[in-house]
């Protein structure tokens, strides 16, 4: 157990393992994406929203990712903070830009859905506002890390910001119940059975899987880059580049 934990903290080890995972995450992503897209467009139209509801297959997975990546980032930041694990700090900084991109996607695709269905691109609804705050949390994390020269101080400051911001995650999730406004309530993640037909649930889950594997893939690449950047003076990295 401790040997495993120790190896997880070793950048050299993680660099090698991450490299070995890449072909698998890449292949699995393409498989999930192609099948997800196929079912996204072969599912029947919605009885109320017609064809416009197909935006759900990119909007909801993007929104889920925006929250999932935030939790990964905050958790990694927390581990780095408590156990002074450099490897965890690297994962946190590698995750942040991906999370920011998915948050932006959730907001903009939501806007493209809101315009034809609600008649407006944007409202200061609780769900939309809390998701916008999430984007600012990501941008704040990225800006804070970029502004601090010392790597360890930057990691610590970023982790504290990320951990404080975790409070926003349940707010996003429950916003549609606490403030019942314009955004429709959850159809999948609720206690009783999901109120979505199986023909629409399958593409949604496939696309969500595709997005998650895509995140894993890009996170592995970015973490490896971060390892090289921070460890470039060490012997093992120098050894990698000797011919």
């Amino acid at each position: 157990m401790f040997a495993w934990f120790f190896r997880l903290g070793s950048p050299k080890h993680v660099y090698r393992i991450a490299g070995r995972f890449l072909p698998w995450t890449g292949g699995l992503f393409l498989l999930l994406l192609i099948s997800g897209l196929y079912y996204s467009f072969s599912a029947p139209p919605d009885y109320q929203q017609g064809e416009s509801y197909r935006i759900i297959f990119v909007h909801v997975p993007a929104a889920w990712m925006s929250m999932f990546i935030y939790m990964v980032m905050a958790l990694a930041g927390g581990v780095g903070l408590v156990w002074k694990m450099k490897m965890a700090d690297m994962v946190a900084s590698a995750a942040a830009p991906i999370g920011a991109a998915f948050t932006l996607l959730a907001l903009v695709t939501g806007s493209f859905w809101g315009k034809p269905m609600w008649g407006t691109w944007w409202v200061w609804d609780a769900r939309l506002t809390s998701e916008l705050i999430l984007l600012f949390l990501y941008l704040g994390f990225i800006a804070l890390q970029a502004a601090i020269e010392d790597t360890r101080t930057a990691a610590r400051a970023g982790a504290i910001l990320a951990l404080v911001g975790v409070i926003n995650i349940p707010i996003i999730h429950y916003s549609v119940e606490w403030w019942y406004t314009l955004h429709q309530p959850a159809t999948i993640t609720k206690m009783d059975t999901p109120s979505i037909h199986i023909s629409m649930l399958i593409p949604l889950l496939l696309m969500a899987g595709a997005f998650k594997v895509f995140f894993a893939h890009v996170l592995l690449i970015r973490t490896r880059t971060e390892i090289l950047r921070r460890e470039q003076k060490t012997g093992w990295v120098q050894e990698l580049f000797k011919k």
Binding site: S52, V58, L104, F112, H217, V218, I221, R229
Partner: protein, 56 residues
């Protein structure tokens, strides 16, 4: 569903295809930026290693 019906999206073509298009662009950009960053640091390290190798 015919091809023209497919692209028409029941009148919601603009919204549906903008959403899928933007998602595609953002995901490709995330991937390419990640690859480019890695390429840059690799070249940087390779140059430094080559230089220190020729000095000794």
């Amino acid at each position: 569903m015919s091809v023209s019906e497919f692209f028409h999206m029941g009148g919601y073509a603009l919204y549906v295809w903008s959403s899928y298009g933007l998602t595609t662009v953002v995901m490709i950009a995330l991937y390419l930026f990640a690859k480019r960053d890695q390429q840059q640091i690799k070249q940087q390290i390779a140059r430094r290693v080559a230089r220190s190798g020729s000095e000794t």
